[in-house]
C-alpha cells in the first residue's frame, strides 16, 4: 500500500513539475503557477509518507497558500499575453536540455553508486513527532528561529520600500 502511494505521489510530483516548467500545450504563466500548486500538494503527500505530518501541513499552508497567491497577484500585474508571442531560441533549448540531462545523469549515477541507503533501517515512529519538533525548535534551534523572524521583518520592510511609487 505504502509503496503504491509512493509511486503515485512521486509520479504526480514529477509530472506536475515538468508541466510547470515546460508545458507543451500552454506557455501561460497562470497555467505554470497552477501546476506549481499541484506539485506542492503532491510533494506534501510524499512528506506524509515520510511521517513528516507537520511539514506537510506547512508545505500546503505556506506554498500552496501564501506563495502561490503572491505569484498569481504578480502575474496579474504583468502582461502575460506577451509570453505567448515570444519565439523560443532552438539552440538555447537544445543546450539547456543537454546540460540538464547531463546533471540528471550525474545525480542518478552518484545516488546509485554510493549505495546511500544501504545500512539504514526504518524505525517505526509512534504517532506524530510534532511535539518533538516544537521542542527542538525552541531549545536547540532557538537562535536560528529568532534570526529567521528578523529576516522576515527585513524582507517585509524591503518589499514595502521596493513597491513605493518613486524609487529613490
Amino acid at each position: 500500500m505504502e509503496n503504491a502511494l509512493f509511486y503515485i505521489f512521486a509520479a504526480l510530483t514529477l509530472l506536475f513539475a515538468f508541466l510547470c516548467v515546460a508545458n507543451p500545450f500552454s506557455r501561460n504563466p497562470v497555467t505554470s503557477a497552477m501546476f506549481l500548486v499541484l506539485t506542492m500538494i503532491s510533494l506534501a503527500g510524499l512528506f506524509v509518507l515520510l511521517q513528516a505530518f507537520f511539514l506537510a501541513a506547512v508545505q500546503i499552508l505556506v506554498y500552496a497558500g501564501a506563495v502561490m497567491v503572491l505569484f498569481l497577484f504578480v502575474i496579474m500585474l504583468l502582461d502575460i499575453k506577451e509570453e505567448e508571442r515570444r519565439r523560443f531560441n532552438r539552440f538555447a533549448i537544445a543546450l539547456g536540455g543537454v546540460s540538464v540531462i547531463g546533471l540528471g545523469f550525474i545525480l542518478f549515477s552518484t545516488i546509485r553508486e554510493s549505495k546511500v541507503g544501504a545500512g539504514l533501517k526504518l524505525v517505526a515512529v509512534k504517532g506524530s513527532d510534532t511535539a518533538a519538533l516544537g521542542k527542538a525548535l525552541f531549545t536547540q534551534y532557538l537562535l536560528p528561529f529568532e534570526i529567521v523572524s528578523v529576516l522576515l521583518l527585513v524582507a517585509m520592510v524591503g518589499v514595502i520600500l521596493l513597491s513605493k511609487k518613486d524609487l529613490k
Binding site: 505504502e2 509503496n3 509512493f6 510530483t13 514529477l14 513539475a17 515538468f18 510547470c20 516548467v21 504563466p29 503557477a33 506549481l36 506539485t39 506542492m40 510533494l43 510524499l46 512528506f47 515520510l50 511521517q51 513528516a52 507537520f54 506547512v58 508545505q59 506554498y63 501564501a66 503572491l70 505569484f71 504578480v74 500585474l77 504583468l78 502582461d79 506577451e82 515570444r86 533549448i93 539547456g96 536540455g97 540531462i101 546533471l103 540528471g104 545525480l107 542518478f108 545516488i111 546509485r112 546511500v116 541507503g117 539504514l120 526504518l122 524505525v123 515512529v125 518533538a132 519538533l133 527542538a136 534551534y141 522576515l152 524582507a155 517585509m156 524591503g158 518589499v159 521596493l162 513597491s163
Partner: protein
Amino acid sequence: MNIGLEQYLIVSGLLFCFGLLGVVVRRNLLIMYMGLELMLNAANLALVAFSRFNNNLDGQLMVFFIITVAAAEVAVGLALIVALYRKRRSAHVEDLTTLKL
C-alpha cells in the same frame, strides 16, 4: 521492492533537474522563479527523506527554516520583478540586458 532512501533521492534529483530546466530554458522571469522554487523543494524532499531514514529530526527542522526563508525570498524577488517591470515594461530576461535602468 521496498521503498528506500535511494528512491526518494532519485525523485528529489529529478525534481531538481526539472527546476533547473525551467531556469535554463524559459525566458520569462516569473517562470524562472518557479523553477527556483522547484529546486528548493527538491532539496526539502531530500532533507526530509534523510531525516526519516536516519531517525533524526534535524533534517525536518532545516526544511522548516528553508520554507521560511523561501517565503521571504519569494516576497522580495517578486517585488523586485514588479519594480523592474514598472521601469522597463517587460519581464523577459532578453530585454533586460543592461545594468543601468
